[in-house]
Structure formats: structure tokens, C-alpha cells
């Protein structure tokens, strides 16, 4: 670490308290990550009743925890090649996390499956822009590692799911639908489990990487340190708990809102998601699970020739497009406040705003609550997360 950077960290921060705050905020982000993304793996299995809603989220939670322990290959690469590492101070990380959390909660409130990875990257880019200016962001890295994959991934996943769905229905068209459905439900459980496991591995590691970055920036660990065991345990726990509580609003949109899903189609969609995620991460392109899963579900609808609710799809695509800039704006605002009110005061103000915004969104969500009891209700009001009882 350069002397300049050390001075900066000690200068605008009170060392350990801020480090603790960043670690706790990172775990909170990890929680929203699990919460927001339960839908990616489980929405189709819940919609086709392959699994009861509570069982589905429990299975997904357990597999996310297991997944978090499976591998550490992508930890600490979250912002590498996207922002200049020298620009990353504790307050920048904190502001970036605020952007990620707020955007995840806003999109959850509207039941929109947006990318948690884009939310955190957007938040970090925004806060780096304020802290270090345009030079702090590696724009070509942002384009090639984040923006272009985000365009290709859902289209590719959709095409693969379309092909898989078409094949499955073509092959089994002579089979009675009763027996077929029950066997495909079993298959669905397998494919959904694989997506959950892959999600735990990829996404929990992102938070581990952020915490590791913070511990190094705070001088608690040497620059070449590997992820400490307590960080792995904490991240696995946070993403598992978030997954278990289940972002039912997003599950509802993906499972019921986009297309009507039958078990064979669910199997094809989930297998497509799992294949795209696993193959691309094998080649070193970690993708957004959300983009892949939504693309797959849409593709499977087209493959079965069922009407896709394009109004819902359009809202979803808009959410994808604005996730990076919107989370970036929040991150930039948070870093701006910290710079304006130098020192601990700024950080405390940002923390207060974060807590207030989160609590406000949660309270607002109670007015049209979606949970395991009504997640599968018929999709009657496409512009709302759930039908509100009159």
C-alpha cells in the first residue's frame, strides 16, 4: 500500500469503526443479494409446484451456503479491472455498498429481477467517480466485463432455453401429460438445485472479495492475504439467510408474471441457466445470474409458444438498463455526502439515510405484501407486484 493511500484512509476515517461498518454493510448487501436472487433458481419450481414455496427457499438457502464454501476462485476479483484499485478506500467501498443495497431494495419493492452484481458494481463505479474522478474508472473494463456480457447473456440463455424447450416438447409429445409432469418436476428440483449452488459460489464470493478488499485497505491484512475463514462463514450465512427469507415479490414476477410455466419448460429453463452460468464462469466470464435466469425463462416461453407478457418483460429490461447508472448515482451521492461532511459525520449521515431508506421500503412493501401464501396467485394486475385484496 502506498503511503499516500494509508494517509488518506487514516485521514478521512476513524480506522477500526469504519472498517467494522464496511464489513457489516457488506454482509447486509450479501443478504439483499440472496434475498433478491432466490427467484433465479426457484421461481420456476415454485410456479410449477415442483416444490412447495417454503421448501424451495429452504433448499435454495442450504445450497447457497454449501456453494459459498465450495470455491474461492473468483473472490477479490469483483472490482478488479473495473475501477483503479488505488482509488478504493474504505469510504468508497461503503458508498458503493450503499448504492448496491438501495438499488436491490428498490427493484425488489417493484418486483423486478435486476442484477445484484450490476448493483454493486454500479455503486462502486459511482463512488469512485466522485472520489477519484473519471480516471479512477477503467472504462474499457467496464464495457467488456460488465456491459457487453449483460447484453449477450440473456439473449444466449434465451436461445438455449428456447431450443431445449422445443426439443423437450417435441420428444415427449406422445407421452400423456400426467406422468410427464411428475417426472419433469423431479428433474426440475435437480436443475434448480444446481443453479442455487452456482449462485452461492459466484455471489457469496463477490461479498467475500469486498470484505477482503476492505480488510486490506484498512491495514488489517497484508495485500496478498487470502479470505479468512470467518469471512467465508459470515458471507455464507448472510446469503443463506437472505435466500431463505425469499424475495417473494421477485419470485412472483419471474414465476408467474413473465410466462405461464409448465414443469418440462421449467426444467429446460433452469438447465439452460445452469449451463450458461457454469460454462461461462469456467472460461472466466462470471455473468449475472439474474440476466441469465430471466433470459432463459423468456426463451422457454417462446419455445413452448405461450404468450410472453411483453409488458412485464419490457419493465424488466428497463430495470436492467438503469441498474448500473441508478446504483451509480446512489453510490456517488453517498460518497459526495461523505466528502462534503468530512470524517465520521459524513459516514454517519450516509448510514442514517441508508437505514431510513431500507426501513421505508420495507414498510411500503407491507401494504401489498407478497409471501409464500400468495406468491402463486394468478397474475391479474400486470402492473403490480401482487393482486391487492379489495
Amino acid at each position: 500500500m502506498s503511503p499516500l493511500r494509508t494517509a488518506r484512509i487514516v485521514g478521512d476515517v476513524d480506522g477500526i469503526p469504519l472498517l467494522v461498518l464496511v464489513v457489516v454493510t457488506a454482509l447486509a448487501f450479501d443478504f439483499t443479494n440472496g434475498f433478491h436472487d432466490t427467484a433465479n433458481a426457484m421461481a420456476t419450481s415454485i410456479a410449477t409446484k415442483a416444490l412447495r414455496p417454503k421448501v424451495a427457499v429452504l433448499l435454495s438457502a442450504v445450497l447457497n451456503v454449501v456453494g459459498a464454501f465450495l470455491s474461492l476462485a473468483v473472490a477479490a476479483t469483483i472490482a478488479k479491472g473495473i475501477v483503479e484499485q488505488d482509488a478504493v478506500t474504505l469510504s468508497v467501498v461503503f458508498a458503493g455498498l450503499c448504492g448496491g443495497i438501495v438499488w436491490n431494495l428498490v427493484t425488489w419493492y417493484f418486483g423486478l429481477p435486476s442484477s445484484s452484481s450490476h448493483a454493486i458494481i454500479g455503486g462502486l463505479v459511482g463512488s469512485v467517480l466522485v472520489a477519484a474522478g473519471a480516471d479512477g474508472v477503467i472504462w474499457s473494463g467496464l464495457l467488456s466485463k460488465v456491459v457487453i456480457p449483460a447484453v449477450i447473456a440473456p439473449v444466449a440463455a434465451g436461445f438455449i432455453a428456447l431450443t431445449g424447450t422445443w426439443l423437450v416438447y417435441r420428444i415427449t409429445r406422445s407421452v400423456g401429460s400426467g406422468a410427464r409432469e411428475s417426472e419433469f418436476r423431479w428433474g426440475q428440483i435437480g436443475s434448480a438445485s444446481l443453479v442455487s449452488l452456482a449462485h452461492g459460489t459466484n455471489d457469496a464470493q463477490k461479498t467475500m472479495g469486498i470484505i477482503l478488499l476492505a480488510l486490506i485497505a484498512g491495514g488489517e491484512l497484508p495485500a496478498d492475504a487470502s479470505v479468512p475463514v470467518w469471512v467465508i462463514v459470515a458471507c455464507a450465512g448472510a446469503i443463506g439467510l437472505g435466500t431463505y427469507l425469499g424475495g417473494w415479490r421477485v419470485i412472483r414476477t419471474l414465476g408467474k408474471g413473465l410466462v405461464d410455466i409448465e414443469p418440462p419448460q421449467g426444467l429446460a429453463a433452469e438447465t439452460s441457466s445452469a449451463a450458461v452460468i457454469l460454462v461461462s464462469s469456467h472460461f472466466g466470464y462470471p455473468l449475472s445470474t439474474t440476466h441469465v435466469a430471466s433470459g432463459s425463462i423468456m426463451g422457454s416461453g417462446v419455445g413452448r409458444r405461450t404468450p410472453v407478457r411483453w409488458g412485464v418483460a419490457r419493465r424488466m429490461v428497463v430495470a436492467w438498463l438503469i441498474t448500473l447508472p441508478a446504483a451509480g448515482l446512489v453510490g456517488a451521492g453517498a460518497e459526495g455526502i461523505q466528502q462534503l461532511l468530512d470524517g465520521a459525520a459524513g459516514t454517519l449521515v450516509v448510514l442514517a439515510i441508508l437505514v431510513t431508506a431500507s426501513a421505508g421500503l420495507w414498510l411500503a412493501s407491507r401494504r401489498s405484501a407478497v409471501d409464500h401464501t400468495n406468491v402463486n396467485d394468478d397474475w391479474t394486475a400486470p402492473d403490480r407486484p401482487a393482486s391487492v385484496p379489495a
Binding site: 456453494g67 465450495l70 470455491s71 474461492l72 476462485a73 473468483v74 479491472g81 474499457s140 473494463g141 464495457l143 467488456s144 457487453i148 449477450i152 444466449a156 440463455a157 436461445f159 438455449i160 432455453a161 431450443t163 431445449g164 424447450t165 426439443l167 423437450v168 420428444i171 415427449t172 406422445s174 407421452v175 400423456g176 406422468a179 410427464r180 417426472e183 419433469f184 428433474g187 435437480g190 436443475s191 444446481l194 449452488l197 452456482a198 459460489t201 418440462p264 426444467l267 429446460a268 438447465t271 439452460s272 441457466s273 445452469a274 449451463a275 450458461v276 457454469l278 460454462v279 461461462s280 464462469s281 469456467h282 472460461f283 472466466g284 466470464y285 462470471p286
Partner: protein, 73 residues
Amino acid sequence: MDQLVDGEALTKVLVLSLVFGAGVPAVFALGVRALAPVDGTTSVLRRSAAYLCFAVCAAAVVVGVAKLVVGSD
């Protein structure tokens, strides 16, 4: 980074994803079809073929998990 999109790697990812992502459900579907009773019964041959198909799918899942454990690159 010299170029924004590595065409060769992208093609590899797409082809492999297509083979696994569409192939595994197709094999599973073949299993379901083999298992479906013809004239009220399912012959031993068809039953074995079905289990073979399901085993292939299970093997694909195991390969997937193994890839996760080994990690990228």
C-alpha cells in the same frame, strides 16, 4: 485488454452452453418418453434405456458441481 469481445472464447462458451443447456433436457425427455407405458406396460429394455438417460443427466450435474469446486480457469 486488446479487444472488447474475444470471439473465439465467446463461440466456445455458446456452443458448450448449447450442448449442455439444451442437450441435457433433451436426454431427460428421452428418458421420460422411454419410461412412458406402451399398451399399459413398460418393457425392461425401455426401462433400462430410461434409467440410462437419467444417469447421463445426473452425470452432467456431477460434472457441473465438480467445475464449481475446481473454479474458473
